[in-house]
Every structure is written in structure tokens, then in C-alpha cells.
Amino acid sequence: MSALGFKNSLGIHPTTMQLRASRAEVLANNLANADTPNYKARDFDFNAMLEAESRRSLEMNVTDERHQRGTVNVDSELMYRNPYQPSIDGNTVDTQMEQSFYTENALRYNASFQFLNSKFKGLKNALSSQ
């Protein structure tokens, strides 16, 4: 295995960034529905999703809705958050918590970006003749 293939050299970071972007959407949706009665806040287990995503190479292709998924399909669907303090209208969005999760997620996205960027810089360095 050469370290210079895109797949090998970039490592886990592209997947991480994709998942972080997905999580940003989920959390953004929670925040947008902070005033919607009966809305239940959602989130997913990031670590479990990342593990499932990085093992995805073993999975089978799905070209039809009725096809069975591959064996490594970790059941990591969206979950409902346990509210710290349930509100009277049935809404479980804890705005401050969601906001901190959202910000943390964005920061970690930027961290992954930094890693990915330096990987690309390294590759560019290796490619250019000095």
C-alpha cells in the first residue's frame, strides 16, 4: 500500500467532514424548530456513524429500494434527545445545549478541514519537483 494514493493518504478526514456536515444539518433543524410545539430534538451517535462509514467498503451496492443492505450496516439511525428540562408544549429542544453542540460540531469540522488541508499540502509538496 502506497501512502500516495488518495484513499490511503487522506485517511478518515473526508468521511469525518461529511458526517460533521450531516450532523450540522440535524442540529440546525433542531434549532430552527426550537419554538415548534411537540417537536422532538434529534441527533445521531457520531462515533458509531463514523465507524460504520469507515467500514463501508465492505458493503454491497444498493440499486433498488428493496435490496438488502450489506452485513456491516450498523443500525445507527437518528435518535431522540433526552431533554434536561421538558417543556409544557412537548418540545424537547434545549436551545443552549443545541447551540453548543452546533458550535462544537462546526469547530470539529474546521479541525478535520485543517487535517485534510495539510494532507493535500503534503501531497502537493511531494508532487512538485524541487
Binding site: 461529511q18 440546525a28 430552527a32 434529534r42 444498493v62 443492505r69 437518528l78 462546526a106
Partner: protein, 148 residues
Amino acid sequence: MSLTNVFNIAGTGMNAQSIRLNTTASNLANAQTVSSSIDETYKARKPWFQVLEKQWDDVDRLNRKLEIRSQVGDGVKIAGIVESDAPLQKRYEPFHPMADEEGYVLYPNVNVVEEMTDMISSSRSYQMNVEMMKTAKQMLQRTLTLGQ
């Protein structure tokens, strides 16, 4: 790309909150609009928030990665604006030009204190949506500089 979806979600949130602010403004402006019959009296208006369900896409459905996103809504929508059922305030003001035969005028069922807190709440929620959009914008802008 899910980060561009954050823009849509924040946009629906801002839209919903500004409509809520509009109803509050209308309620406050009409808080003293009197009338002599129940039908003609202004009633407090409240927006009815609902989750905006994601439009299903066949291509989305086939892609497992997109599956988690498809379960998430697509922001918030105003399902309608409802008039409050709270009782109207009947006041005895016999010299009021709008008073009925018995000397009563009807004031709207607008609770001014409630409207003020609603106003602050919607303005804060609006700000939150703006911040959310700002963060998503920064994330996307950084992503565009990848490899530079």
C-alpha cells in the same frame, strides 16, 4: 451537500420567526381596537409552527448516506395562523361611541404581557437562526479554500 441545507433550514426559521413577529406586532397594534359586537372584535392571532417535512427524492432513498438526512425535517413552516379563543374583555364604558345599548364595549383578547414576551422570544430565535447561518457560511467558505 448537507451544509447548503443548513442555509435552507435557517432561512425557514428566520421566515417563521418574522411571521411570528408580524402577528405580535398586529396584536399589539390592535390591543385597544374596540367594537360593540363579538364578531367584529379583533382576536389575538398566533402562528402555528410545524416541522417542514423533507421532500422525498428517489435518488436520496437509494443512498444510505443520505438516509439519515431524509429522516430529518427541512426546517420549520407556518401551518397557519389561528385566532385565540380566549374570552374578550367586556368593559362598561357607557360614554364610549362604540358602546352597545347596555353601555358595554368589547376589547380584544390580546394579552399585552404575553405578546411582549413572545416578541422577545421570536427576536432571539431569529438571531439564533442568523448565527447558525453565519457558522454554516464560514464552514463552507473554509471548505472552498481546500488545497490552496
